[in-house]
Amino acid sequence: MADPVKPESHAPNPDTDAYAHESELESHLQTKRMVINMGPSHPATHGTVRLKVELEGETIVKIDPEIGFLHRGFQKSCENVTWTQCLPYTDRLNYLSAMMNNFGFLNAVEKLIGLEIPERAQYIRVIGSELHRLTDHLTCVGATGLEMGGFAPFLFAMEFRELLHDRTAELTGARLTTSFGRVGGINRDLPEGWIQKVHKSLDRGLELIDEMDVLLTRNRIFVDRTKGTGVISAEDAIDFGYTGPALRACGVDYDIRKTKPYWVYDRFDFDVPVGEHGDNYDRYLVRLEEMRQSVRILRQAMDTIPAGPIIVDDWRIALPPKPEVYGTIEGVMSHFKLVMEGIQVPAGEVYDSTEASNGELGWYIVSDGGGRPYKVHVRAPGFPVLAAVPHIIEGKMLADLIPTFDTINMIGGEVEQ
């Protein structure tokens, strides 16, 4: 479409006509302070977040992250459904590692009930969590490589992630949002021959991780852009409430799997990688090493998993087996009660935390004794991490924002609850 209002005379434009005047060629490049919006949906922001960036040339003077574009009213929704119906909501907090959120929530609920889940269920929870820790870190590391200009590492990451998603689908029936946990255990047992398949996928996966390592860790462009950028000191990181890989990259050895082991984590032999400088490069290295450790945990867990039930045998908490539902009146009644009213969690409150892929995932739950949660609060690891971005990036270059945003791995779903 032709522009109907063409300016008659060409009015001078100080921004575009600077080179037209020879004298200005020798003067300093003109800059003016400008505000640009990055996001809410930008290829380099993982998730829906709007960054209002105030630039002076290429230097970031001020940055104001604005969240809430994905806000779904997680807490309010949970207060209006039964405990079991909360599970799909928890999946969608961190859609890259759904099982960890799911199991973390269940861990808190079970603590409130005072329930010990069967050993086999604990093993399967560890296996599920580590699988999804791998997929989460793969996405993060792959995307970091991609946004620094390397497409191949991203493809390797996606290949491994696809393998893991296939295994997840065989296990749970879904690829991303699995809703696999149940109060008192898990939904279903491992499929036949699944463990051998996972071993095979992990063999291939370790090769792929090595390929990514070779391509990125000594790559000149990658190192130049990540080393020394996005630095946060250990003291500041603690003050802001950093946890997980972002905190460990600063040199603080804090991993809930080690300090306060839950499920059967204390039976496995694994290391917690710790960084030194707290910059983007260290966060990348910590994640890379954590993936290898996850593979170690997975192999040990799959080799030592005991036989036994996968959910507690208590009809007030777990649904009765289908033959009982169709055959006995007690089965029908408890099935009906559980579906219609929900699990009767005794009144009380609990704060419990697990180590999710990005850090401490804390749940503060209040029950009034009914079948629905009275209050569900989630302490998402991405929230403090994002809150500290202005502190990290102000006064630095615009180009540093991309790797910083990649390696802190903020997930929109959990930040915006």
Binding site: D3, P4, I238, D239, G348, G362, Y364, F383, A387, A388
Partner: protein, 172 residues
Amino acid sequence: MDRVSAQLPEAVADRYVDRTGGAWAVIHADSLPKVAAFLKNDPELEFKLFGSIDGVDRLHLAENDPRFEVVYFLYSIKRHEHVRLKVRVSESQPVIPSLTPLFRGANWWERLTFDFYGIRFDGHPDLRRILLYDEFQGHPLRKDYALRDRQPLIPERPIKDIFRGPGTSGLS
């Protein structure tokens, strides 16, 4: 917790252990910064890692006076322990001293609590809504805010100095 009670006896209103074994201290709102500073700076405690803040609306619980509870979770990397603090505030005067000068991590959590429950934090540098837009009416996590409540439409905000790209006359 024992150390807090010994050092600042007038600050602690109540102490109890919940059914799951978590120890709680109910703190008077005025003395919250003092308690938090003690917990953070005491060389034997060092509760420096800021966990989170959230509110609880106790409207439908048996004890609902005062109406709001604000819970604080701090963590000590030295001791590998959580500390759970609680402050009770009434509906008529929901004001708590801010912890942001002490912990920078408190900034966003306080904004979140303000956004959802309407509890104001005295001394917060930038207390505005965080997840919802400025024109939103009410505080959605209060129990008397209906699940399917509707909000009035708001007019589009004027944007200054906008350049919509070549080929346009500069107007939308």
